[in-house]
């Protein structure tokens, strides 16, 4: 830092340049913006510009190739019609029903298991340093690896079912991964396995951040441990619930890889989520406009969750 102090004072520099600001000093002044500009431009073009482009495509007749023929709301009308086509289920109907099932169970179980493990780990546990990383490591794996591992584990002919048969429990049946009505639940299992440890870490950090005085006061007042958790600690964890919910909900909507690796889409596409629907319709079924419309619907879903959250976060900060 001493080298900074020895450089020429800024005042002399300005005197040298006279009263009129030179090009050089103007450049100096604009430098921070110039440095930020490429990144910001990239985001504006490749995120927001591309979103608009996708939205535009969803209003055209694009099939295998992008087209500029305006087609109004046709793609959205299609998706709307498919939303209610339940027997036989349209791909879109399957995708959004699965989204509902997967989204709800994934978020619920991750929160429940995450909170449960965090509370258990917070009981002055010996060996916490060993247990914590075990709950968390799945988060470091790619969804593809998780999918491959669980695909093997849940395969009726090889994995859990076969193993239990070999051990003598021959009536055991677990073929969800091959069953079109249940395949989405296997995605829930693998997804919860991957993310619940991370939620545990969030809750644990929250628990350790609670002021010990509050707890002592409650204990002196004769609160039982159960009451302590239900009435005091869990309500204090509300911000963690909110952050965890936001993270999980947005991960759920973005889930794509896991379905591909674990189920290859499931029998007849029965494990699809909207993300898979988008990919298949856009790149494989030559229905680009419909695919784009589904992408825009996904974006609106995520925005409904994220925008209010970010807005309140940023406003709080600037205050």
């Amino acid at each position: 830092m001493s080298s900074v102090a020895t450089t020429r004072p800024v005042l002399t520099a300005e005197r040298d340049e006279g009263i009129r600001p030179t090009v050089r000093s103007r450049l100096q002044e604009a430098l921070p913006k110039i440095v930020l500009a490429p990144s910001f431009a990239a985001i504006v073009v490749f995120v927001y510009g591309f979103i608009l482009w996708t939205a535009y495509l969803s209003f055209t007749t694009s099939k295998a190739f992008p087209s500029t023929n305006w087609d109004g709301l046709r793609s959205y009308e299609k998706l709307w019609r498919w939303t209610f086509e339940s027997s036989p289920p349209s791909s879109w109907y399957t995708s959004i029903t699965n989204m509902g099932i997967f989204g709800f169970l994934y978020v619920f179980f991750c929160l429940a298991i995450g909170l449960g493990l965090a509370i258990l780990l917070d009981q002055k546990i010996r060996g916490e340093g060993v247990l914590r990383p075990i709950y968390l490591y799945p988060m470091a794996l790619s969804f593809i690896v998780t999918g491959v591992a669980w695909k093997w584990f849940l395969d009726p002919g090889l994995g859990l079912e076969q193993t239990l048969h070999n051990l003598g429990w021959t009536s055991f049946h677990f073929d969800w991964i091959k069953n079109k009505d249940f395949v989405i639940y296997t995605v829930v299992i693998a997804g919860v396995w991957q993310a619940s440890g991370f939620v545990m870490a969030m809750f644990l950090a929250g628990l350790r951040g609670i002021d010990g005085e509050i707890m002592k006061a409650a204990q002196i007042d004769g609160a039982s441990p159960l009451q302590l958790y239900r009435r005091i600690i869990i309500p204090l964890l509300r911000p963690v619930f909110l952050s965890a919910f936001i993270v999980l909900a947005h991960m759920a909507i973005k889930s794509y890889d896991l379905v591909v690796a674990l189920t290859s889409g499931g029998p007849g596409g029965s494990a699809w989520l909207p993300s898979n629907f988008m990919y298949e319709y856009t790149f494989k079924r030559n229905q680009m406009a419909v695919g784009s419309a589904s992408a825009i619907i996904m974006l609106m879903g995520i925005s409904a969750i994220i925008v209010p959250y970010l807005y309140s976060e940023l406003r709080e900060k600037s205050r």
Partner: protein
């Protein structure tokens, strides 16, 4: 970006469930707690364990045997085959090429996005201008978009760049890397990683004393001098966090990889792994599949084992802002 409180297990706040109840109850209580914790640990380890033991078994042993049993005659054959011989689509040269593809993509993408994130975070905290919050907000929201909403336009643009590359190739004998799938993926990952890296550095530099920057400014230090001499030497922790976060994310990415380098020589590891597993020609060699999956998982697992603390911190920074 403070150190996570749970890094020290013996904090005074640890909340004891059975404080002033009977001794017998207390012991039962402890047994139940430890029992549940160990049960969950076993559940979490199970898939990795099964994957690992399967990768050391012969096919005969897999077909007849118990997936939980340790290999009777451990063999490295499946690993060697996964690395050097197994078929990915129609080419049967193992996954080693794809492993290097991933590495060639990850390293530049991580470095560029991290460095840009550092500069952006520096500008957004120490050189604020009107509207800096809006700029940050727009960059932040970009972290959360479903990439499906930009997938198709990016494919179109990369396609045109590729055609331009071919023209260059024909005219001057070099395409300058335009149209190269690895270069494309580096570009895509830098662009869509910028939001996160900027977020990390912005939140870190927010807590960095502005007085130091002001003092240096008065002493005549330039924008880049301050960055190099004052900010960078104090940024090691956040660099580690960001590099690990980006490394894990980019290594594990599947959507961009399959959309922009889904076929041929240049696919990254995740796509290749998915192809190995779903190749349906002949007998499915589960041991080789598991070995391939382990190889794909090793780099990120290694990072997690070596720098788990920073890994978690990155995840949390992406989740809980500030």
């Amino acid at each position: 970006m403070t150190a996570l409180p749970f890094d020290s297990p013996e904090t005074p706040h640890a909340h004891d469930m059975g404080q002033d109840t009977g001794r017998g109850w207390r012991i039962t209580n402890r047994i139940v707690i430890y029992g549940l914790l160990v049960l969950f640990a076993v559940l979490y380890l199970m898939p990795l364990f099964v994957m690992l033991v399967t990768s050391f078994k012969t096919m005969d042993e897999i077909q007849g045997g118990n997936m939980l049993a340790l290999p009777q005659s451990p063999t490295l054959e499946p690993w060697a085959k996964a690395w050097g011989e197994t078929c990915v689509g129609l080419t049967c040269a193992g996954i080693k090429g794809y492993f290097w593809n991933s590495l060639k993509m990850v390293v530049p993408a991580v470095l560029i996005s991290t460095l840009l994130g550092a500069l952006n975070g520096y500008v957004l905290t120490k050189w604020r201008f009107r509207g800096h919050n809006l700029v940050f907000g727009l960059m932040l929201f970009a972290c959360f978009i479903p990439f499906q909403s930009v997938l198709l336009p990016m494919a179109t643009i990369l396609g045109s760049i590729g055609r331009f590359g071919v023209t260059l190739q024909n005219a001057f004998g070099t395409s300058l890397g335009l149209g190269n799938p690895t270069v494309n993926l580096v570009f895509v990952h830098v662009v869509y990683g910028l939001g996160f890296t900027t977020l990390f550095f912005r939140n870190y530099y927010e807590a960095f004393p502005s007085e130091l920057v002001k003092a240096a400014q008065i002493d005549g230090a330039s924008f880049f001098q301050i960055f190099r001499r004052i900010m960078l030497p104090n940024s090691l922790p956040i660099f580690v966090v960001t590099v690990i976060y980006q490394f894990t994310n980019i290594w594990n990415d599947f959507l961009f990889a399959s959309a922009y380098a889904g076929t041929g020589e240049s696919m990254p590891m995740t796509v290749a792994l998915n192809n190995v597993v779903n190749t349906s020609t002949g007998v499915v060699e589960y041991n080789v599949n598991m070995a391939a999956a382990m190889i794909a998982a090793l780099p990120t697992l290694l990072v997690y084992v070596v720098a788990g603390r920073y890994f978690v911190r990155g995840l949390m920074a992406g989740a809980v802002k500030g």
